[in-house]
Symmetry: D4
Subunit: 248 residues, 8 copies
């Protein structure tokens, strides 16, 4: 039952063609999607400034291109994460507006550049090896309509580099902090700023880093109260939540 | 070197009693705290509407009472988490304004009830056993100056209870979602709302819940993009970050 | 919005007092529970022959008694799991029909003994220490209206005891197999019978049993294709699913 | 000693050619398989509508072909799981009746299409990446003589898609639910249906999904009582048990 | 069906009172234990010089006493492991021949002291905290009829103590080596002797010993080829296997 | 200080050229190996019937060939484990007596075939995928001078195949049992035989087998008292210890 | 053979009463300890300024007192770690020189206060809950003859407190850094100082701290190159190694 | 604000052009790096005798060459770890002074060979497979200006090889001990020497070594008090800390 059918039913009730009890019964079992639920999703997409973000990894090249075409047909912007170079080349060849970010594997069309965020999102990473994850967060936040500033390579073992960036950090409305190995940077940044900090553990490290587990546990146990955590290497999720917060 | 010493140095420079090069050298090694750093912390506390929150667990009764007295001497509000009943009784006896929340063990003085948050924080929990953690989040957020609404006992296995609360959920500016066992509720709530969701895994469960590990992993892997996670049972952290976001 | 309000709305539509467009909008956001959703739960409870099963652990004595009274007011049967002796005594004192099973901590009122199952559910356990879990499964399945047979103490290290029970095992319509330590019994039973086997790892063991983890992993890796697994010590869940299957 | 030998022995006893004591001794040590145990397996295969299912992974191409030939010589149907494309090509070339399902790697000959199941098995998956596992469950259940319906891509974060499929879900006699990442779908489905739900964690995800561990733990801790669990990615096992249940 | 029934059946066959086909059918399903299988267990017990060893932990006092009485009625010897002092006192009071070993909680009656072992079993432990586990191994091996020598407190960090015991170690026919913490001693002993070494990880330690996991993993990875491993704290199992080997 | 130096020192003492106190001091710090300690190792090798076994994995081809040449120069037999086909081809080309076992990657020269074992070593494996590990155990035990019998493909889910092999199993002096997945076979075999059982978990399986961890934990928790365990896939270690035991 | 026997042997050699070859043979098999090995330990104890440190946990009161008496009979100093108050009271009552440190449970006699360390050992801890571990390190280092400075409560989330202590930190010759929760402090301190940093993870925390595992992993993955790690809560070990380094 | 700006500010204060209060305020927020913080790092580098060590793994060839050029422009020495052969070839081709160590992947320029260490650093490894990690430690320590001695292949299972090297071990001022598998060697070495021992677990092993976890846990639980631990395979870190200690 879609909206037209619902309207028809109500018209029939109004016209006396359908009894109230009978209408009541039909409405009780009315499936939700028939009320145009996809439209709600559509509205949400418009509200967020971007359609559903596509997770590219594991999808076949043709699938990715088909999805991209479908989204671009109804949306000015597009974001696909974790795409390898071969697929990116095909996307670039097909859609002239496509940008490719090889470090993170993000692919973007960014035609509607309306700014929705009310402040600046600062994306920090501990080492150069964490840059792919940081870039995924940056591209996500930027495409969703935010001013984004990136600060790279300021780990806790060089605490003065951190201190020297305090002005830039405290200027942020939301911080995204990416770190592998011991994952200590979000605690240090969290202690320096008053805004929410979204911590992204990365799989950077070896041995007892256990592919990001050490950083993940460290961030979950942060002694800074303003830190929340997303999955290992989930730069997209961090950029997405940062954007939601920055729109508030 | 405190501010007085710094002022004296600058006076000497102005008076020509100290050479610029000599002053320069002394300033390069100037320790930070002597610049009144504690005051910055003090300012931050005022800005947040509450002083440093005290983690009560493991502290001796006398310690807790001394800290409470010290904070109440300079602040209208007080929040101590995870206090057992014996200590709470002593606090209530000593400070008439103290409220005790036995479920979560929170102790509060809430004299300055200024509202700082711009919207409503909704705290949701999956089962009645998750209520202690939810309460800790609620008391934290409320004491920090937010309107808080609580919705209890709406797990994913009773999805219609969840749906029937959708209006209340979508009215939130930030959601805190507490769940133990499989920890699936944040994903479901995350899919229903557009605002940030802070997920709190709880240690509720047995067997392969491994004291909250199952819920924690579930939340970190949430397929809803607007979910971030805090430590197991960390209701305080969730309420704190929700409050930071709600002030934006 | 409950059914009365919905009826009133439809009456207004019929009477022309409310526009179709306006009714349409209100219906789109209609919360589900207001349509009498709790009744669905009620119907399901009746269909299963027992009301919602109460997990007693961690509930206060007064809570348990209040819930028991509430259920017994509308249902002939009652099942509460993991109740300690003190609470059980109070329940027995208050409700004369109550049976207490100290090994598993189950409490039951079993007034409606209608048989719903189409065959026999056989509950097997590897060692005497697994009996509490097995008993929880038995009481659950029995109270839900099934013929239940129990076979105790037939571990894989005494394979001939297993073989000698093959007639009883193959007579089952569903098997529940509880085992701790290495958790090998479900594989052995699974190879002997053609029916579904529900494996329950128990926390029985020490050292590298890691509180049931070894048994859990063993059962998940069973080389018998007819084995599915529930949580460690979850005798209730196994008995419940076995009952669902036996009603088919 | 096979049945013929056993009969001969009994004939000799009857004829007085063998003493009772001597027969007794021989019977005490009679190995079981000599009673035609393989035949029992054969009978079970017939009863299940399909011979032993072959796990193709790790087997050499020649081995797989030889086994396929051997099974097809005595059975109308054949099911091999997890076969790569090269082996599948050789099977298709050799046996014209072979179907290949590239997503899951299943290979099938389905000549005897007798329906044994009494109802419908519904196979659900949370995301498109879970489809290989779902397909393995579908092909298994279908080949074993069941009506199978598949519902793809209805995760808990899009709860309305789930609700909108409730009619199809409640029509099932058994549900198989495949999900990776947080593995929350079985709980949600379990709460919507009254039938048994077999949950299959998949290795879909990254970071803290730990190759399916997060989903596995989530499912084991499901708050829905009608959920049992099989190994990570074990679509075959789920389809097999679903089929056993559906025949009851 | 026991042997008498089997004999009766064969008599009937001989007498023509039962048809061969009918006997054949009954024999095909004949349960094994009815052939006197328990006797085999009994024989094994006699062969090993001791009846089934009882795991005392978790058994009720009355249960333990009843089992002890039952075993002592048919066996000269008795071994119960992990009994607490209260139960031990009752056993000593009831059965005058009982010895109690408080360190390990073993209880023994050792009336038949026949030596079955062909050489000496040497039980080594790394630190004094490992002595309870070592004692369990010693009492087990001794009661099963072996000469046992114990060497305490020779960890790898005091390698010269180890070297100075080399003569005693090389005199062993089997070694049992108990160690907690890093669990390195079995490797060192294994390199010094040519005989089989049974390694017992103990739960002695703290922090990253994870209740014996560190020792267990260390022993499983021993670079000495003559080392096999039993469960954490399983002194009984080590003593048992050592005894089996020493009888060869 | 070698033996010649030691003799010279003693000669000097005898001749009065060195004071007793001075000799005493020098002897206290005398390094052990200079007393010909390597000879002890040499003796042990001879006693075991084979020189040091070489772990081939990770060694360069030239290294393996050089070591093989060195060993064959002083020993009739040679055993190298885990060699890939390319290196094996080179070994076969260079040393005509070399045998290669591709399943396990073992390489052997077996010129001295003296039997040292006093009975039969039976190597059992649960599934055909466990055969590489079983073969490593067989080749090791055979080359060390034992009669070895192999029984393949008798898992616990086909318990009658196990029973039907009971005569062969009970004829063993030592059993080696290899199993992956749930690793339940050693418990079942352990219950059927009286001799020591050496359990080898294999990495066969997928999902929650966690590369052999499930099987390892299962075996460590075996309820059969005669089971000890070696590292995952360590067929060599099992064959080696079985051989030590069989020589006793 | 002790030194007297060795001297006697050498005297016999000198006197011609024993042949050189015969003496040579006896010396080859001379066990090490008979050369007075305990004395070597004794020498080492003297060299370190303290006798063997006693791990008090798990020892019986009488054992602890006996050991203390034995050590104090031959040494001016005594250190026992992890003693509870009851035992400490008895020690204080018996030995007037005993000091008790209730926070860490350390017991000390410190009569010989010679300073052996060449610089200052600085013991830092992140939070007040880490103080018991820090105190154990301090008492150990002090008793071993070092100047020790303690800095409490400077976690990474209050980075300015850390910076403000930089002068005290850089004045250390060795740093011991104790931290629970995310364990980030050693990285931050390590980046500020040039000296070796010994990191001690503590079990302080809850939830995903997993009793110190999070801190341990964080420290092992420290991005500061001058950090090494000891076991969780092992303040003693850290103080001991710091002392060894400070004596160099 | 850099030093020039600071000097200008002070000049203005002196000249009366800026008020003291105003200068005070600006100085309070002065970022640290503007005071030339990088120079501090530079000084530290000079003090340590080598510039920042580069972790080569995961860096692009061009990046590595550029960094190498940059460092060599201002430093006589260079150390890059974990470089593959292709990058090493390019470095050797470009910078004639470059040495490549293929086993560990280290690349070095060692023009300034000043000895800074006060004694000898001894690097020990348990097996030949641990040599890459040992080499990384050796090259690091040597390049940092230390005399380094290496002892290979002395595992605890050949304890006499260890004893025979005791003179070389006790001659060390610091020991680095690398071991995989059970990781027992640091305990044994730690018991033989009085100096600090830095333990490096290696990922050498298979099965339950879990890529070095077994060795790591073993070393953290070492019963030798003089052992500290670094990350799995972290030869560089061990060599670095050993060098810091040896300079003291």
């Amino acid at each position: 039952m879609d909206q037209e059918q619902l309207r028809a039913l109500l018209d029939d009730v109004r016209a006396g063609a359908v009894e109230v009890d009978s209408a009541l019964e039909r409405l009780r079992h009315m499936p939700f999607e028939d009320l145009g639920f996809a439209k709600v999703d559509h509205h949400r997409a418009l509200r967020h400034g971007m359609p559903e973000v596509v997770f590219g990894k594991g999808k076949a090249p043709d699938q990715v291109i088909e999805i991209a075409a479908s989204i671009l047909a109804r949306s000015p912007n597009l974001l696909i994460t974790r795409v390898d170079a071969a697929i990116a080349d095909r996307l670039v060849a097909r859609f002239p507006a496509v940008e490719y970010f090889p470090l993170s594997g993000a692919v973007r069309v960014w035609r509607d550049r309306t700014v929705h965020g009310k402040g600046k999102i600062t994306v920090v990473c501990a080492g150069t090896s964490d840059m792919p994850v940081a870039q995924e967060a940056e591209v996500t936040a930027e495409t969703m309509g935010n001013e984004v500033e990136a600060i790279y390579d300021i780990g806790v073992a060089g605490i003065h580099r951190l201190i020297s960036n305090s002005a830039r950090l405290t200027a942020a409305r939301v911080c995204v902090v990416c770190a592998g190995m011991e994952g200590a940077l979000p605690s240090a940044v969290g202690g320096m700023v008053s805004c929410p900090v979204i911590a992204v553990p990365t799989s950077v490290g070896y041995g007892a880093s256990f592919n990001g587990l050490a950083a993940l546990l460290g961030m979950l146990n942060s002694c800074a109260s303003n830190v929340t955590v997303v999955n290992i290497d989930n730069g997209f999720g961090a950029g997405y939540v940062a954007s939601l917060i920055n729109r508030l």
